[in-house]
């Protein structure tokens, strides 16, 4: 993984929590994708991607999220994103309609909570 972004993977019961720190652009988007895919076990019910510390996510990163969501959806696995209100990337994510595909929670607890 390049220095731009860092992944923290945490397993909580049937949850998989991935924290993305740093920036995601076309130079590391593919890496991010394979890392995230590799980190989600088949038996995990839900994947929570915490973008609280992601300061940059462009269309390449978005694509990754979209694709991942689609893949997980096909496997009947849930995916949730955590993007705080004050996060600068929120507007971009909302703009692209990601929210329609993946829930954009404002707080981690919300994403972790079973609905």
């Amino acid at each position: 993984m390049s220095e731009l972004a860092r992944l923290d993977v945490e397993r909580r019961d049937s949850l998989c929590l991935i924290r993305v720190h740093g920036e995601v652009d076309m130079s590391n988007a593919d890496e991010l994708a394979s890392a995230m895919e590799g980190a989600v076990p088949n038996d995990a019910a839900r994947l929570v991607v915490d973008l609280s510390h992601t300061i940059y996510l462009d269309s390449a990163g978005l694509r990754v999220l979209f694709v991942l969501a689609a893949r997980l959806g096909a496997r009947r696995q849930e995916m949730r994103l955590v993007v705080p209100e004050e996060s600068p990337i929120r507007s971009a994510l909302e703009l692209t309609g990601l929210a329609t595909v993946v829930p954009l929670e404002r707080h981690l607890e919300d994403a972790l909570a079973t609905s």
Partner: protein
């Protein structure tokens, strides 16, 4: 002999202008002062006087005298004054004869005869070329014959006149005639030579006193002896002869004639006075004796004198010619010796030249040997090749080992190269004119098996018809040079390839670097530098120095640089990076000692962190104020300590406008100058304010480095410039990995422009998308650049993203959100696509106004 005696007769008129009617006559000798009349008178007077004197010696009736001097006088007068004086002679003769003749007629006849006879004698003498000096035998003989023959006339006429005039009886004709003839003849023979020699006496050379005394003594002796012999009863007249002979021998005519005259006169006088042995017998007998005696004396005297004179002249001529010969010989000898000297000189010169030539030859051979150059000559028609000694040696033979033809000369050339040589030769031969052969490198196999590379040069010469005549040239063994050159080239190439060929463009940061290699005689060195833009947006600077030269140092340097790069991209801490490089050095068993400084500059915070492994300290040059060295963070050089305690790092602030300078020791180390002094000098020179980094570097090199560069020098300088207030211009290679850094710069600029966090993010995202588009679509597989330009205009951020590629139409699957994002983030987006490239222009108004 007088000097004039050997001259030829004077021919033609003498000085003194003898009148023209005498012109053409020979032997006109005579004082030009006397007029003809005077001469006649003189002759007449002398003749008369002499005649009167002589008559006293008469034997026959006072008419006939045994010695008649007037004939001699007349002959001499004719010889001296010419025939024109005959009236004087005739007159005088007449006057003489008149008293003693019976009548005028016989007197006249006698006179006529007495005039005619001398005239005839003179004429005869002149005809035969008689010389008055009587210094030749022929002259002596001539005068004798002339006298004897011409006096026949006078004797006959005179005696005839006497008989006819009854002065004497006819029976006495014979004796009278004999006496007359003898007397007249003797008159000539005795008197004429004497008179002629009087002239000689006048012109004679000064005789020495001894000679004079000799002459005097001799004549005295002659006188005495003659007196004795003519008066004594003994018949010893002949005793006079030796003395006369002596006179003739010693004094030639000048002695002989007077002596003869003296003796004859005395003898004649003796006869006339009836003395001595000449007084007995009949008149005829006495006459015969007397005449015989006189004749003998005359002969002895002047004939002998003439012979002696002639012999003397001959000897003189011989001596003269001998003298001339000697002169000539001497001259010739000196000429010869001169020529000989010259020859000797030339020979010496020739020897010197030869010696010089030989010396030159030796020097040439030596020079050839030292330079490993051999010379060759190929006489083409004869197919004869001549090699210099060195040429043989180059091929591995002994000098002049064997004679050569072309084939033998190229025997050892490697086959492939031989083809080239032959083609070159054929090419020039075809052109049929004088020209230089192209230089050719070819290989030979020496006799010891070594392959050597030779450089051949040559000239080709043709004869008058363009036929090949001669080739001449040199060959140099360049094997070692080529090897060295090759090695040097490799090292140079390696080093050059290991140094960054250009510095990265990092917005907001000025960079400058210099690399000055040492002089080309020194091999390439181990100095290096590098600028590593880090993903975090920070900038890594490194400079190092590997000990040693040549390929080894260059390759170590390359590995160090790569190691540093790799570590720098992974590690944030300079100390750690340096440590990792050191570990690599250890692990690779590279034992070279190397120094290294590694600096990390954070554009956001304006600080630097650095670690120094044994290298000269980096220098911080503030915008104002004194430069100082960053002397912390110090550790031993790489590879020096086996287990260093650990590399340390230190930090410093690098405000915008100040400069950090890294350099190698070539800049500050000089022979004879301590390192401290060099560092002080560097500090001094750095204080000279330079407007930009390039002029700073140039100034430092110019002032600190002289002409001779004995060690490599590397310089690296970095200066942060404030972005605030200026437009930002970034030029990025169209590659994904540059995006992170670019975003850092954009963020900084936007921050300084007064944008808030959201605005910063939005603008950066829009730019990022535009750049990503360009990277993805513009260039395909080619290299290219993306230019990003940010401007602030009245609170509005204006962005221009430009590429010079051609836009590919295919959009990536699932992509295409870029445009959506750009439009969402910016107030306005405009895309211009063209064959020259694509330009994306975007604008976003910031909430707050543009700060100053």
């Amino acid at each position: 002999m007088e000097p004039g005696a050997a001259q030829d007769r004077v021919i033609g008129p003498s000085r003194g202008a003898v009148p023209s009617r005498h012109a053409g006559r020979r032997t006109t000798v005579g004082p030009g002062l006397l007029t003809p009349a005077t001469k006649m008178l003189l002759v007449a007077v002398v003749y008369y006087l002499a005649a009167r004197l002589s008559l006293r010696l008469a034997l026959v009736e006072e008419n006939v005298t045994p010695l008649w001097p007037p004939t001699g006088i007349a002959v001499v007068a004719f010889l001296w004054f010419g025939r024109g004086v005959w009236p004087g002679v005739a007159l005088a003769a007449l006057l003489v004869n008149l008293p003693i003749s019976t009548s005028a007629l016989p007197a006249a006849a006698t006179a006529a005869g007495n005039s005619l006879a001398p005239l005839a004698a003179a004429h005869l003498l002149t005809r035969v070329g008689f010389r008055p000096e009587i210094d030749r035998l022929r002259d002596a003989v001539a005068i004798v014959l002339a006298a004897l023959s011409s006096m026949l006339i006078s004797a006959s006429v005179g005696t005839g006149a006497l008989v006819l005039s009854d002065a004497i009886p006819g029976s006495d004709f014979g004796p009278a005639w004999a006496v007359w003839w003898a007397g007249d003849a003797m008159g000539v023979l005795v008197v004429a030579p004497f008179l002629l020699t009087l002239r000689l006496l006048r012109r004679g050379a000064r005789a020495s006193w001894a000679r004079r005394w000799e002459a005097v003594g001799l004549f005295a002796l002659i006188t005495v002896v003659t007196l004795v012999v003519v008066r004594t009863e003994l018949r010893i007249l002949f005793l006079v002869l030796p003395l006369v002979g002596w006179a003739a021998w010693r004094f030639q005519q000048r002695g002989a004639a007077p002596a003869a005259l003296l003796v004859s006169s005395m003898a004649t006088w003796a006869v006339a006075r009836d003395f001595g042995p000449l007084s007995e017998g009949t008149l005829l007998e006495r006459m015969i004796t007397l005449q015989a005696f006189n004749a003998t004396v005359a002969f002895t005297s002047f004939v002998f004198a003439a012979v002696v004179a002639e012999r003397m002249r001959a000897r003189e001529a011989l001596e003269r010619s001998a003298g001339e010969l000697e002169d000539r010989v001497r001259r010739r000898t000196s000429e010869l010796s001169g020529a000989n000297e010259q020859l000797a000189c030339e020979v010496a010169e020739r020897k010197e030249t030869e010696a010089m030539l030989r010396e030159r030859e030796r020097q040439l051979a030596e020079a050839q040997h030292v330079a490993r150059v051999g010379s060759w000559e190929w006489m083409i028609p004869q197919n004869r090749v001549t090699w210099s000694d060195e040429m043989y040696r180059i091929h591995g033979y002994g000098p002049q080992q064997f004679p050569l033809t072309f084939e033998k000369a190229v025997e050892r050339v490697v086959k492939e190269d031989l083809g080239r040589i032959r083609r070159n030769v054929e090419a020039v031969v075809r052109e049929r004119r004088d020209q230089d052969l192209p230089d050719i490198e070819y290989r030979i196999v020496r006799t010891d098996g070594a392959v050597r590379v030779l450089l051949g040069r040559g000239k080709f010469q043709v004869g008058p018809a363009g036929e090949p005549l001669r080739m001449v040239g040199t060959v140099q063994d360049v094997t070692d040079t080529k090897r060295a050159e090759r090695e040097h080239r490799i090292a140079e190439t390696l080093q050059r390839s290991l140094l960054p060929d250009r510095l990265p463009e990092i917005p907001g940061v000025l960079l400058a670097a210099r690399y000055v290699p040492a002089g080309s005689e020194v091999q390439v060195g181990g100095d290096w530098y590098d600028v590593v833009p880090l993903p975090s947006g920070q900038v890594g600077l490194a400079i190092g120095d590997v000990a040693g030269h040549g390929l080894r140092a260059a390759s170590t340097m390359g590995q160090l640089r790569m190691a540093l790069r790799a570590s720098a991209l992974d590690e944030d801490s300079p100390a750690t990076v340096v440590h990792r490089v050191h570990r690599l050095l250890e692990r690779l068993d590279l034992y070279e000692m190397a120094t290294l400084v590694y600096v990390v500059f954070d554009p956001d915070t304006g600080t630097i962190r650095y670690a120094n492994a044994g290298h000269p300290p980096p220098m911080l040059i503030p915008e104002d104020g004194e430069a100082r060295y960053l002397e912390e963070g110090l550790a031993p050089p790489l590879g020096a300590a086996r287990r260093p305690d650990g590399y340390v790092e230190a930090a410093a602030v690098l405000p915008a406008g100040s400069t950090i300078l890294l350099y190698t020791d070539g800049l500050v180390e000089r022979r004879g100058v301590s390192l401290r002094e060099g560092l002080d000098r560097l500090k001094t020179e750095a204080a000279a304010a330079a407007p930009d980094l390039d002029s700073l570097c140039d100034h430092l090199l110019a002032s600190l480095v002289g002409d001779e560069v004995s060690d490599d020098i590397a310089l690296l300088a970095l200066r942060p410039v404030p972005l605030k207030g200026q437009s930002l211009h970034i030029r990025l290679p169209a590659e994904p990995h540059v995006l992170g850094r670019a975003r850092q710069t954009l963020r900084r600029w936007l921050r300084e422009a007064g944008a808030d966090a959201q605005e910063i993010h939005d603008v950066v995202l829009a730019c990022g998308e535009a750049c990503a588009n360009a990277i993805q679509h513009a260039y395909g597989a080619r290299e290219g650049y993306v230019e990003v330009h940010l401007d602030m205009d009245q609170g509005e951020v204006r962005v221009t993203v430009r590429d010079s590629g051609s836009w590919r139409s295919t959009a990536p699957p699932g992509g295409g959100r870029g445009m959506e994002l750009m439009r969402g983030m910016m107030d306005e987006v405009a895309v211009e696509r063209g064959p020259e490239g694509t330009v994306v222009r975007m604008r976003r108004k910031l909430r707050e106004g543009a700060p100053v």
